[in-house]
Symmetry: C2
Subunit: 382 residues, 2 copies
């Protein structure tokens, strides 16, 4: 199967990542931070090294402000619910995934906070103006995605964060699709809290994610054993323990550590260039098929991450993706857990077929996909 | 190193478990329940099989009522906070781990619910009477551990659950130390919700845990992408999606699946017998060293899981465990994240050295440990 579903999770994982997971289960099999014996200390050291690598990779505020989570969704829930107070107003973008929309909507339903959605445009000035107009006196938090998981738009984080700061609001970023693919630099881009999955662009295993922040006073949403301050009936104040309860996914973290090493060595901008080349080829090929609908105005404008979404005529995206799947191409159809993005792009009925290559894909894969789409376009009733 | 810290996490993992994780990363590398392509369906099938195995293993209420979590602590937080309503009263035992105590204490601090602690005695009748007396008119939930992580006491779950039911309260069990080691049968023991780690007695990798329930109306505490009902701004009502947001730890779940297979094949009662034999040998050996303090009244009474905790004279347990660690024995000293248990056993100052063998330990390991403890007893100033 030609795997073009890297926005869901990256595949294949580099052999070095798989090897690191394997070794971890043999060499670092003890619970980190719980006991004092050698293997426990060794495994704690591996976890600490990965913490430090994430901090460096995203130019964060110190390894103690990096906390591990099972995925980006848990990290986002912790970040949002851990900081919002009763009466707050939150701003989110029109491209947010359910991992941001649903927690924010829950806070609204519980009467804790209100939220507004600002519309992202392909014109940066319009996006920024829409964002500006969304602020209220009680806006304390803005949460935006770095990259739309459904349509690939890259958001102008630096400019958005400046507006947030001027309005006295915190600026949180969902790095689910951006991490390892586009530049994410917390200090340079003014990101107060960044949530990332380990298993997408960072090439780590499923089951990993992280939250990086600048030392914010988060309340915990999960409490439990931390291996520290055992006699305190409350969660310890200290970071990262405040946000990390129970046993960590050590094999996953060891794999993630290796994934970050590989991404760092290749360089995020090289990865972006390589994958974008494939997407430009795909976009151009799809443009030449009259039945195909595309949703990215100008793919060459540099405002899209390497991800192309499309539909064929009025066919439901899941029909198209099912046909592609049957013919050896792994892509995702449907709604990608991003209802707001589909409302924005008027694809509420069809959803979209999403193609998301990795560094392991080639032009041949794209040509194969294009041939299949041409066939669908000719014989509409697949 | 002789590893005797299986109560923190089991080690070594069986080679078949490590192999299952490895294969999973190669064969089931797609995100389950997100896309429709073959590898995504394959990986969803693996997850579903593990769900079914957990359900069978614990005699649960159906695979849809099994939800995966990164560890037992997340499962317990979800269970407790997802069911407690304002004004409720909760009963917990005097042996609870911080993974139960801290979430319950948080609910109290937030003014949501009150809680009482009933004291567990080595005499069952006393335990049951203490439990009975803890009920109030507004008691809606009881949370007890199956096995004390600090002192090994096995709680009489069936009798406790009957009392809870008579009082109209739900009965939740923390299976952190019990799962895979003592009998846990949800239907037979009247357990309404059972939380377990995957990485201890079930021999799976760190990063895994599960919550099993009888179809209770839990509110979610984490919301996000579920791959279903994408257009609903709220978490779907359906199980297991209601409790599972974001990408699952597929490699971990595949490893856990293999772990459960191995435990099932060996048989929980055989595992219990084998490990208990080692503990009886250890307990007897420690009894013969006059300087050693033990906390289990009669180890042969059958009310203890295979876990022995002790101290040597007035030495702090961490000094003793450090000496053992330096000499090639991996055990844990300190407080084991269970302050209530240490208050009960008056070990608030010393903590306790905890020895927790697995099926992979031998009598030789125990003899080696005993020799070292004898040395410590002779030369008190280690």
């Amino acid at each position: 199967m030609i795997y073009l579903d890297n926005a869901a999770t990256s595949y294949p994982k580099p052999p070095e990542v798989i090897k690191a997971v394997d070794l971890s289960m043999k060499l670092y099999g003890a619970n980190p931070g719980r006991s004092g014996h050698k293997m426990s200390v060794d495994s704690a050291f591996q976890v600490y090294k990965c913490r430090g690598m994430l901090d460096s990779f995203f130019n964060g505020y110190g390894a103690e402000y990096v906390a591990f989570f099972p995925n980006c969704t848990y990290a986002l829930n912790t970040a949002i619910k851990g900081i919002v107070k009763k009466g707050d107003h939150i701003i989110i973008s029109s491209l947010e995934h359910n991992s941001v929309l649903r927690p924010v909507h829950k806070l609204k339903q519980e009467g804790v906070a209100e939220y507004s959605v600002f519309r992202v445009s392909e014109e940066k000035a319009v996006t920024l103006e829409n964002f500006r107009q969304a602020f209220k006196d009680n806006t304390t938090l803005c949460v935006v995605t770095a990259v739309s998981n459904a349509f690939g738009n890259i958001l102008p984080l630096k400019e958005l964060s400046e507006i947030a700061r001027k309005n006295g609001a915190l600026f949180f970023v969902d790095g689910a699709q951006g991490a390892g693919v586009v530049e994410l630099d917390m200090k340079n881009q003014g990101i107060d809290c960044l949530c990332v999955p380990g298993h997408k662009g960072l090439l780590g295993p499923m089951g990993t994610g992280a939250l990086l922040h600048k030392g914010l006073p988060f309340s915990s949403i999960i409490e439990g054993g931390t291996g520290t301050a055992s006699f305190d009936f409350s969660q310890p104040e200290m970071y990262p323990e405040r946000l990390e309860s129970g046993t960590l996914n050590v094999p996953g973290i060891c794999g993630l550590k290796k994934g970050i090493e590989i991404v760092s060595k290749r360089g995020v901008s090289n990865i972006f260039q390589r994958e974008s080349r494939l997407c430009r080829r795909l976009y151009k090929g799809l443009q030449e098929i009259p039945e195909v609908k595309l949703y990215q105005g100008d793919y060459n404008s540099g405002i899209f991450a390497p991800l192309v979404s499309f539909n064929v005529g009025d066919l439901h995206s899941e029909q198209v993706s099912a046909y592609l799947n049957e013919n050896g191409i792994g892509v995702r159809g449907g709604f990608h857990c991003a209802p707001l993005a589909h409302i924005s792009n008027e694809t509420q009925k069809q959803g979209a077929v999403r193609v998301s290559p990795s560094i392991f894909n080639t032009e041949k894969d794209i040509n194969f996909l294009l041939n299949l789409v041409r066939k669908i376009a000719i014989y509409r009733n697949i």
